[in-house]
Symmetry: C2
Subunit: 242 residues, 2 copies
DNA sequence: CTGTATCCGTGTTGATACTG
DNA sequence: CAGTATCAACACGGATACAG
């Protein structure tokens, strides 16, 4: 017989790992990547492989054991794979599988929606991957229409190259080829210019941002990513509890 | 600061509610709706307000206290609002706010991605909202091109109406106006026909599905929602652990 | 009848220290 | 530097008792 029903304290034969029992594909997605930190780990891998320590550094507050656990689970699910770099380095890196890479629209949907949150605080730390993903997400095709440009970013140590064309933006790691403009600084500083409306000159004056090349292009670039209006804070704040 | 030595068990000065400290909007989204069950509660509200007991019934495994907690948090965030129905019923219902309703692309992105999961089991229970959302998500515009039809669904007790036109599908609660076809049955049965490839005749024979109206339309309808190919199970299964 | 609050068992999360 | 082990705290889930 099935044990179900009576047994309540003696028999835990189904250690069902706290998953939803739901055929809905979205629910299944949460079974796969709904654990704390899982999606943020994936986010950090969207622009290329990363080492364990890079992931730790980009994810403020994650602890080593949790990161290990998430990476194992993501590997078991076929979302992440571990690779060993060639002998000179021979270090391990984690990379998204092809399917894992296809999770990008999830981040765009989440980001586009949460950008309207009244509680969103854009002044918190920001990783390079988050910043670059935000560009892909928030670019306004209308404002970028007719603009064709190559813009380099130096985020900490890592170079990236964005190509604007046809109202769209493509971003890849590395600095392949020449760029009309190169912006250097911490992701949070770039974000302050693009989303916070802080004048480029102010950031440059502080020495936190460096602009090389076409300054006019820089001024236009930071206007291409408009934020949506905030949603109303809370229609009816709950009485007086939590 | 250095926590060294001193017992901090007495002081909970940082009730940081286990949130990410990250300016990334996607991370903020997870702060808002990343708790267990939160997104599934929202999913159940996507097609209209629901009562507490409806939510409980549609969410297999959620307990009452957790549902209460999630509903409060979602209200506090401005995603859900509680309404009181007019006197005859005067019961409370929960509904998405306008901003909450805009979360729909999140479910589509999650669902579209997870549909490729090797582990996805489509034979689990399925709520009406999940089923209807899957239609919106998986409709193939090319296959639906040139098809103009009104199709009613009777899922349990609740009527819904889908309008196909221009390669798109619109679905709303209720049964406004006439339909060429009405399909009645449990969401899981409809899903078996559309995604499981089970012949309509077989389901009708079992008495689990009822087809009224244009049978040829029904046969075509179930072919409009192709599933994507599965992703490879796991490139390199981890050594020998779980 | 609808929804909320409390107790408690259990598993997961997260911080620290430790090993390869 | 990568990853594991140990342990404390908390979140979840179940049952039940309580409030509107």
């Amino acid at each position: 017989m099935t044990d179900s029903g009576a047994g309540r304290s003696a028999v835990p034969p189904l250690p069902r790992q706290r998953r939803y029992e739901d055929a809905c594909a979205a629910a299944h997605a949460l079974d796969l990547v709904g654990d704390r930190w899982a999606l943020l780990v994936m986010r950090e891998l969207l622009f290329g492989p990363r080492r364990f320590r890079d992931l730790r550094a980009s994810l403020p507050g994650i602890s080593a054991n949790i990161l290990t656990q998430r990476l194992e689970e993501l590997q078991a699910a076929g979302i992440v794979q571990r690779r060993t770099l060639p002998p000179p380095a021979s270090s391990q890196v984690y990379a998204l599988t092809e399917w894992g890479q296809e999770s990008e629209p999830i981040f765009q949907a989440l980001g586009r929606w949460a950008a309207r949150s009244p509680r969103h605080d854009p002044r918190l730390p920001l990783s390079a991957a988050s910043f670059l993903m935000s560009l892909r997400t928030m670019l306004d095709p209308a404002r970028a229409a007719g603009l064709r440009a190559r813009i380099g970013f130096l985020l900490g140590e890592e170079p990236y190259l964005a190509r604007l064309a046809g109202g769209r933006i493509a971003i890849a790691a590395g600095s392949a080829g020449p760029a009309e403009l190169v912006l250097s600084g911490a992701p949070a500083v770039l974000a302050a210019a693009i989303y916070g409306g802080v004048p480029l000159a102010a950031l440059e004056g502080e020495g936190t941002l460096r602009i090389e090349g076409d300054r006019a292009l820089a001024e236009r670039f930071v206007t291409l990513f408009p934020l949506p209006p905030k949603a109303p804070p809370a229609a009816i704040p709950p009485p007086a509890s939590a």
